[in-house]
């Protein structure tokens, strides 16, 4: 298994540009998450999804959008990039409670480092 993969690894955007951060997992996890990591702040949840077609806001959703058309993919969209969105973005996935695996340990991708200038 490749686990959780993210593309791109690095990106520089100009203010007002848009982009999509890609995330794919091959572990058949129902639950997927997007976090952002800022220095000295830990990780903050942006959006999460409990299955295909179902998404919900996390702690810091403003300026972002998500979709979940398949179990494997959970892209994060930035519509109008702002300097405040400069951060490292991590995608994660886990089994959901109805998958009967007895664990919801989250597994993380390698991250996307985004700079908005």
């Amino acid at each position: 298994n490749a686990g959780v993969t993210q593309t791109p690894k690095f990106r520089i955007l100009k203010i007002g540009q848009s982009m999509t951060l890609q995330c794919t997992q091959d572990m058949n996890h129902n639950y997927m998450y997007w976090y952002r990591q800022d220095p000295g702040m830990g990780l903050k949840l942006i959006y999460y999804s409990v299955g295909a077609g179902i998404t919900d806001k996390g702690e810091v959703p403003n300026g972002y959008n998500v979709s979940r058309s398949t179990t494997e993919d959970f892209p994060l969209r930035l519509e109008l990039a702002a300097p405040s969105q400069t951060s490292v973005y991590f995608c994660a996935s886990s089994y959901g409670p109805r998958q009967g695996k007895g664990t919801d340990t989250q597994y993380f991708g390698p991250g996307t480092r985004l700079t908005v200038l």
């Binding site: 000295g40 702040m41 830990g42 990780l43 999460y48 994660a92 959901g96 993380f108 390698p110 991250g111």
Partner: protein, 115 residues
Amino acid sequence: AQSVAQPEDQVNVAEGNPLTVKCTYSVSGNPYLFWYVQYPNRGLQFLLKYITGDNLVKGSYGFEAEFNKSQTSFHLKKPSALVSDSALYFCAVRDRHQAGTALIFGKGTTLSVSS
């Protein structure tokens, strides 16, 4: 509100000495507790978790953590530190009755092991 505190921004240890990275938590119900490690320019790697049962949990790379309900703590420990243990460590928590929801992370503690 749920929260996690890692009171030390940095812990410095000599190789071969025991190490402790501290974590305290606040959650409304009974907690699930996790430790993750992040090496430079890498994603978070799962180390160990406490769900139920024995308060001493053993994880990857020789790490262990002790759940203390009365002190609401979940400190990470290792009997003998290695230089390769140098990394950023995150403690995380969630209420056990909120299955599949996001983790609440501490701010992280940088562990530096000197040779």
